[in-house]
């Protein structure tokens, strides 16, 4: 089993630089990068996106999901970097990368981890439009 690396960052990050520094030489690597949209859920121009988390529980939940999924999919090294704080449109929010011997395992494991991360890790998004903040009630659809 490969190393599982989970990081919650207050400062902005460059996903491609993170991947460049990530160890491992597996045959297959699946990568997902999520960025802040330029429009809010209601279609208005988005000024900023605020992300809050529950420190401690959040990192543990993601680690727990990653361990289970790594075992289920026989995946290798896994990397999760997730932003918190105030983000501007276009800024990376999340990077999920999974290594495996085969593309199927890497892609399935990566997709499953991202879905669990969205629904089972204590993060909350607040959209800011025209200086007014609105907490999101649910995630965007797949």
């Amino acid at each position: 089993m490969g190393l599982i690396q989970v990081e919650i960052r207050l400062a902005g990050f460059d996903p491609w630089q993170e991947l460049g520094q990530w160890a491992g030489h597996s045959a297959a690597v699946a990568v997902f990068v999520g960025r802040v949209r330029s429009t809010a859920m209601d279609g208005r121009p988005l000024q900023a996106l605020e992300l809050e988390h529950y420190p401690g529980l959040c990192e543990r939940q993601i680690n727990r999901m990653a361990v289970q999924l790594q075992r289920k999919h026989a995946a290798g090294a896994m990397l999760v970097v997730h932003r918190v704080g105030r983000l501007l449109p276009g800024e990376p929010i999340v990077l999920v990368a999974v290594q495996a011997d085969r593309r199927g395992a890497a892609q399935r494991c990566s997709a499953a981890l991202l879905e669990q991360l969205k629904h089972q890790a204590p993060f909350w998004k607040r959209e800011w439009c025209a200086d007014q903040g609105t907490w999101l009630k649910e995630n965007t659809s797949l």
Binding site: Y54, G56, H119, P122, F123, W124, K137
Partner: protein, 75 residues
């Protein structure tokens, strides 16, 4: 003591993020604490005790950290 934490929209609805309650048998479970906070329905709210997700009827003990968490919207 019982440490109660609220996050995101719940924190804004309540107007506070953290509160220490003197331990009492009235606070036997997260559900019992929630009912006394008068913050509406518990439906859709996740609960963590000492940073582990639990159900609303898990017994509480003095010194616990109890957090009420609105629906998650990360990723």
């Amino acid at each position: 003591m019982l440490q109660v934490l609220l996050f995101a929209s719940l924190r804004e609805r309540a107007g506070w993020s953290e509160r220490s309650l003197s331990w009492s048998s009235d606070y036997a479970t997260p559900r019992a604490v929630w009912d006394r906070l008068e913050l509406g329905s518990l439906q859709g709210i996740s609960i963590a005790v000492n940073q582990e997700l639990v159900d609303a009827d898990q017994p509480l003990q003095a010194g616990d950290e109890l957090a009420f968490l609105p629906p998650f919207t990360g990723g």
